[in-house]
Amino acid sequence: MPVFRETTLSNGLRIAAEIDSRGYSAAFGYFVRAGSRNETDQQSGLSHFLEHMMFKGTARRSAADVNRELDELGGQGNAYTTEEQTVYYATVLPKFQDRLLDLLTDMLTPSLSTDEFETERKVILEEIAKYEDQPPFGAFERSMEIQFSPRGLGRRVLGTTESIQEMTAARMREYFLTMYRPENLVLAASGNIDFDSMVEQVETLTADWSQRQATGTDPVSCDATNSLPPGISLEPKLTIPEISQSYLVRISSGPSEASGDRYAARVLASILGDEGGSRMFWDLIDTGRAEVATIWPHEFTDCGAWFTYLVCDPADAPSNRDQIDRILSDVVQNGVTEEELNQTLNKASAGIIMQSERPSNRLFGLGSRWLTKGEYLSTDERLEKIKRVTTGDVANAAKNYFQNASHIEVVASGD
């Protein structure tokens, strides 16, 4: 059975590991409490921009060295940014543990050179343009902006073309010194790990991290809350010429990571919206009325959202939306059956077991939970929490979230 170990280094950096010495691989990741919700208008997109810049060189390594060494270790690695976190991770063979930790840790003290900043700005602008061409054409971001306001949790992770064009390297350096202090980070590891060696190595490598402190040389002004940030609109209808389908995103209030009914909510979502056997599937997908019809809860640290997503022919959108409403009011009124619950629990339990076979899959839940809650859940404990959900819990969650719930809808469609 995997063993959990954790420690806090003298500089405040926390380390959490789930060790399974039978594993073929070892996964490592730095989890940073820096996401778009932490940004101001002038910093919009900085958490994500910084994520890119961590690959652009350090005092000891050029940008090319960083990428070359990652490949030399056969590392299956990358990074991502959300509203609440930035994560850098890689999975390697256990024999490469020391070298990977040296590299990942060094990457987190980036040079942030102005030249590299300017080149990477172009890549970020391309990334924004890429998503503008892809379904659902910004509808998720727009729904978050309206629900949570474009400042705070509704802030776009990539920023806007305007905010990225206006960004300065000096502002990025200040943001880095503010957010990448050791007490704001967790190093997580899973799989075939040598824990003691990891702790000793990282203690030395991060000794000077406690000196990180903003210099105050590039103060960020407060947001002018009487107007929208540059490049932001709260119009719920997005017109995208040339597209043939209609993309509807509905958002309403949902469970947070701390809510007692979050497992019941996940089971409810599975019964209502899972691909390949849920109520929405049978009514809307199996019949060919929609290409996508699904629902899921998204948990943030202190609040949450339910997303409903419908993709279909624009002419069918109103009737399909009515059908979704009928499905939701039916579950509020009548709850779910024992048979549906058991089927979902069996599927979910098998899913957890299968997913836990790879250390790289376990890393994200481990690191993220340790960063935000200082809590560890073994695979068996996760199974236990899911299996404890009853039809009564699911019915209560349905009432709690769907009865008379107000929601916002964003639609992207053609001319």
Binding site: V123, N346, M354
Partner: protein, 406 residues
């Protein structure tokens, strides 16, 4: 039917991959989408089970399942806790041997196919790569696995029945199983469940008929989406890894040349890739780059230049990095029964025999830079097929006046 088993006793799971020779290459010309539609219809009830029963049994067995069609095969697969495997195989034998093919659900299934086709139309990358595939392999081997709106509309119940009866049989089919299971046990289950399945003759494989050509699809998109392809050798060819290593050096990993030189050093795009795709006797290298219109020409020029000049400064360390990458992937494949089952089935289809992890490791380990250089010097990329989507066409190395694709 060939049955392949790889015991992986250190896992808690098992997975299977079932491939039948019922791909889009055997569809009638006017009924593009028939293979995918039949794959959907066989899962709408089989043996004693209705469509809903099947899903409920699969969920209760904890199966994470997938199905779909490719150029030459229809594929069904799932991973699950190992103790579910026997029942899962029994269920899929019913699906491929005794499906109901319910006529009253044909219109629903056709609507599902149309939904997918329309959704793909909204994905510029998909449009570019699908059109590129058609230019590269020609109209038969380059068919869309989703079909066309016209093709789907043409399909009648008897077409599905006929496609099923002609192409769903034991001949050429492969069942690959990996995970915490014993080989003899799986062989005996396979005999029980699939033993009565008839073997029928296989249609002759179509030939590729693609040609060098440039096509532009006009669009008001934010980016210009660029797809390019050229012919290469398929998986199983004696020189395959010499060619594949070159593509790895160009595009596998963050220090690969396209990522480093097109994106990292010049900031020309967010996505730039090249990868190999093999059919049984034909193959292609397919590449993609997406970039804003004003930088699209430069992106295309720089990207093709990197590919054409791959051998000029080829270094030992680049090949070594690629070898470590592949070796790590092969070792980590031991952590996933699904991944191993799928490799077993596709290796057997391509090469006609299973390939062990050790055999692959040694083939890759023995590669030298000289072999890679000499292969690429003797077989330089040529006859590019290029498709772009965006506001304006680009200048390409291809003569813009070309013959229609056959």
């Amino acid at each position: 039917m060939t049955v392949l088993v790889q015991p992986m006793p250190w896992l808690r799971t098992a997975a299977f991959s079932l491939a039948l020779r019922a791909g889009v290459d055997v569809e009638p010309d006017s009924k593009s989408g028939l293979s995918g539609l039949t794959c959907e219809m066989v899962q709408r009830g089989a043996g004693r089970h209705s469509s809903r029963d099947l899903v409920s049994i699969q969920d209760n067995l904890g199966m994470d399942r997938s199905s779909g069609v490719s150029t030459s095969t229809s594929n069904f697969g799932a991973s699950m806790p190992a103790e579910s495997l026997k029942e899962a195989l029994a269920l899929y034998a019913e699906i491929v041997l005794n499906p109901h093919l319910p006529e009253n659900q044909l219109e629903d299934a056709k609507m599902m196919s149309l939904q997918e086709i329309r959704a793909n139309q909204d994905e510029p990358t998909h449009r570019v790569m699908q059109r590129l595939r058609q230019l590269h392999y020609g109209n038969v081997l380059g068919r869309s696995t989703h079909g066309t709106e016209d093709g789907i509309s043409e399909i009648k119940q008897e077409d599905v029945r006929c496609f099923f009866e002609t192409n769903y049989h034991a001949g050429g089919s492969i069942l690959a199983v990996a995970g915490n299971i014993e080989a003899d046990q799986v062989f005996s289950w396979a005999e029980n469940f699939f033993g009565q399945w008839q073997t029928k003759s296989l249609s002759e494989m179509a030939s590729a008929s693609g040609k060098s050509r440039y096509e532009h699809i006009k669009s008001g998109s934010s980016q210009t989406h660029i797809g390019f392809a050229f012919e290469t050798i398929p998986y199983g060819h004696p020189d395959y890894f010499r060619m594949r290593a070159g593509i790895g050096i160009l595009s596998d990993g963050m220090s690969s040349r396209l990522f480093d030189r097109v994106r990292e050093q010049q900031g020309l795009c967010y996505t730039v890739t090249a990868s190999c795709h093999s059919l049984k006797q034909h193959a292609g290298v397919f590449g993609y780059a997406g970039t804003t219109p004003e930088r699209a020409q430069q992106t295309l020029d720089v990207t093709l230049n990197e590919i054409n000049g791959m051998t000029e400064d080829l270094s030992e360390s680049e090949l070594e990095r690629w070898k470590i990458r592949i070796q790590s992937l092969l070792i980590m494949e031991q952590e996933s029964s699904a991944s191993r089952a799928s490799s077993l089935a596709s290796d057997f289809y391509q090469v006609g025999r299973p390939i062990t992890t050790e055999e692959l490791e040694s083939a890759i380990e023995s590669l030298t830079t000289e072999q890679v250089r000499s292969y690429w010097q003797n077989h330089p990329p040529s006859d590019y097929r290029i498709v772009t989507l965006g506001p304006d066409p680009l200048n390409t190395p291809i003569d813009p006046i070309s013959t229609p694709v056959q």
